[in-house]
């Protein structure tokens, strides 16, 4: 195998998967009676056709990237954190509260709001970690269940005590943030905000951290074989709390920048309907929890969504078919392309103990 094939071979698989996925999608379009080429053209335009759409895709990817990175980091350490939604909601809520009620100059409020988002998401996440480390409460279940609790709790706050009474007052939402607090846009008039830069930075930092740092090493070993890590002096308890805080903090950051950069207020259900959390988790799994891979997968998934909206706006192909095409594409791309956490786990599981 020469260098050239070594380089292209790993790319071949995802490209082939996308091709087959597009083909399968074409069948769906045909059944729905749409024009295949036009539909795909609109899909492309909706995602990347022009500055507005491109930046919009990146802006949509921002919370997905952050959540994906958080999930990926926890997965790497061997902790299956499925609580991104709740962690994100708490991050968003706290950022909104700080943004609304903290006095002081806008830039300072904004920074504090971001930090509050990270801390809130992190603490909510670390709670599940603590329950597991201390009381052996299954992390998978607790993180999943705490999502419901977080969403309902935040829903209560914005439906009652913190409800926005300034406008029509018909929505369960907080008041709107003053625009001095908003995260600056990267390009004026375009949806992309500074949060995206934070997300890319986070991906790079995690990449270096995992690959080069002592903590990253311990995280990887803990995820690979916790007994080996324990044996070598890695402290699982503190690592678990730390990893869960970091993971939840990233999800919280995702929520915070979505509020400060895009929505400017906490709206009940807005983060859940957009399904950022599961999309982020999916990105992490598609990328085998690799941070840079997660970044790319997140943008890809966001592009599928924005592209789907383009299809809905500009063709007669109904919204549902757009969703079907998205799902089919993801299914094909997940095939074999992934080097997944669970598969790996299955692999390990299968070897029994050693002689």
């Amino acid at each position: 195998m020469n260098k050239w094939t070594k380089l292209t071979l790993p790319l071949l698989q995802p490209i082939a998967a996308i091709m087959v996925g597009l083909l399968a999608g074409a069948i769906a379009i045909m059944i729905a009676g749409g024009d295949i080429l036009e539909t795909y053209a609109e899909m492309w335009k909706g995602a990347f056709g022009g500055m507005y759409f491109f930046t919009n895709t990146l802006s949509r990817a921002t919370p997905i990237i952050l959540i994906g990175l958080g999930a990926a980091f926890a997965f790497r350490a061997g902790f299956f954190n499925l609580g991104a939604e709740g962690q994100m909601v708490f991050g968003a809520l706290s950022a909104a509260l700080v943004g609304l009620y903290m006095p002081g100059p806008g830039w300072l409020v904004c920074i504090v709001a971001i930090i509050a988002g990270i801390v809130a998401g992190g603490l909510w996440s670390v709670m599940a970690g603590y329950f597991d480390a201390r009381f052996r409460v299954n992390l998978l279940i607790s993180t999943l269940l705490l999502n419901y609790v977080a969403v309902l709790f935040a829903g209560y706050l914005v439906a009652y005590p913190l409800k926005d009474r300034s406008g029509s007052a018909a929505m369960a939402q907080s008041e709107m943030l003053d625009n001095s607090v908003w995260l600056p846009k990267l390009i004026s008039g375009m949806p992309l905000h500074v949060g995206f830069v934070l997300a890319v930075l986070a991906a790079l930092i995690i990449f270096v951290l995992l690959k080069r740092s002592v903590i990253g090493y311990e995280v990887r070993m803990l995820g690979g074989n916790p007994l080996f890590a324990l044996f070598g002096g890695v402290k699982r308890g503190p690592m678990m709390l730390g990893a869960m805080f970091f993971s939840g903090g990233l999800a919280g950051l995702g929520g915070a920048v979505e509020i400060l950069g895009s929505q400017y207020r906490y709206i009940d259900g807005a983060l859940s309907t957009a399904d950022y959390a599961w999309t982020g988790i999916m990105a992490a799994l598609l990328a085998g929890s690799h941070p840079i891979g997660t970044l790319i997968a997140s943008i890809f998934l966001a592009a599928l969504q924005t592209g789907g909206m383009g299809v809905e706006r500009n063709t007669e192909v109904p919204l549902e078919v757009g969703a079907i095409i998205q799902a089919v594409l993801i299914l094909f791309i997940s095939a074999r392309f992934t080097y997944s956490f669970l598969k790996r786990r299955k692999g390990n599981k299968s070897d029994g103990t050693a002689v």
Binding site: A159, G167, A274, E312, R313
Partner: protein
């Protein structure tokens, strides 16, 4: 793009029509959600399609998959140079408040909430008036002095209905007890049905469905246990005339139709239209609007007559119905 053929006869008013190829007016309806389970949005879509046929305009309905995509869809509609962009509900307020001032030449309309901008027409409803009538009907008709509300979710907008209902019911029957239960979502008829069954088991003989598609679950419970129910937004008494005895109406289709009509006839103005009982924008079957379904004896003509008086009183301003959203 669909709409109905024929050649254009539009007199075209309003500015901003800078389209190239054809002379047909193009109108976009941007919705904050998928049409799906909420009859409210389906009605708007219907009104738009009907208007398209009647006024020879080209129309397009754009559904949003989630709140984050609303602004994008609105901006794209502007970029696609639609001549009129109709939006709807408070969910789009934020986006419209951003986009409309940036595009002062583009005419907008928003239905179901007020956005006070020079290029936006706002259309709102006084649903609480209709809810008051429904409550009064329930209060008069109940034999057990117990009635129920099965509500989609505990969110502010729903209180507009519940408060109106309660006021109406108490006004005619101070002893009436009102059970309120929340489904916790807009797509769960099974749960809605359980709630209706529960309310019935506690003695309610009339349950008002306020839970979007969940109302179908309420109707089914009514059928199963032989109590009475009411629907919302559109006249759905036809679903099961024996048990679904009333429907609280909201003429969103008519409002969209009117908007398109005004626009295509050149009568478009940027103001606030407020539709209540008086304007016929909201109502109650048999009382303010005819129904194809024969009146159920549970309500009876006698009660309908009393309700008509109440309706007149509301229109005349003799009865003031509380708008829960304005209470603060």
């Amino acid at each position: 793009a669909c709409g109905n053929d024929d050649k254009s006869t539009d007199t075209g008013a309003a500015n901003g029509g800078s389209e190239g190829s054809q002379d047909k007016k193009r109108i976009a309806l941007v919705l904050p959600e998928k049409i799906g389970v909420n009859p409210f949005f389906a009605l708007m879509d219907e009104g738009l399609k009907k208007a398209a046929a009647d006024f020879n305009v080209e129309v397009k309905t754009i559904e949003s998959t989630d709140p984050a995509s609303i602004e994008q869809n609105l901006r794209t509609a502007v970029a696609e140079k639609y001549d009129l962009i109709i939006t709807s509900t408070f969910q789009m307020e934020d986006a419209l408040k951003k986009v409309a001032p940036e595009n002062p030449d583009v005419p907008f309309a928003i239905i179901d909430t007020v956005v006070d901008l020079p290029n936006v027409r706002s259309v709102v409803f006084r649903e609480h008036e209709a809810a008051y009538l429904l409550g009064a009907a329930a209060g008069l008709a109940t034999k057990t002095n117990k009635v129920g509300n099965v509500v989609a979710d505990d969110i502010p907008i729903m209180h507009k209905y519940m408060t109106g209902f309660a006021e109406g019911a108490k006004s005619v029957n101070p002893n009436v007890e009102i059970f309120v239960n929340y489904v916790g979502g807009f797509t769960d008829p099974a749960k809605a049905k359980e709630l209706a069954l529960l309310q019935n088991s506690k003695g309610a003989d009339f349950v008002a469905g306020l839970s979007a598609v969940g109302d179908l679950g309420v109707f089914e419970a009514a059928k199963e246990k032989g109590f009475y129910a009411s629907g919302q937004d559109t006249d759905n008494t036809g679903t099961d005339p024996e048990h679904v005895v009333l429907a609280q109406l909201k003429g969103t289709d008519a409002v969209v139709y009117e908007t398109v009509k005004d626009f295509s006839e050149g009568n478009y103005s940027f103001d606030i239209r407020d539709y209540g009982l008086k304007e016929g924008g909201v109502g109650l079957t048999y009382v303010t609007h005819e129904s194809k379904t024969p009146l159920n004896p549970f309500i009876g003509q006698d009660i309908v007559d009393q309700l008509k008086v109440i309706s007149d009183d509301i229109i005349a301003g003799k009865i003031k119905v509380t708008n829960a959203l304005e209470q603060n």
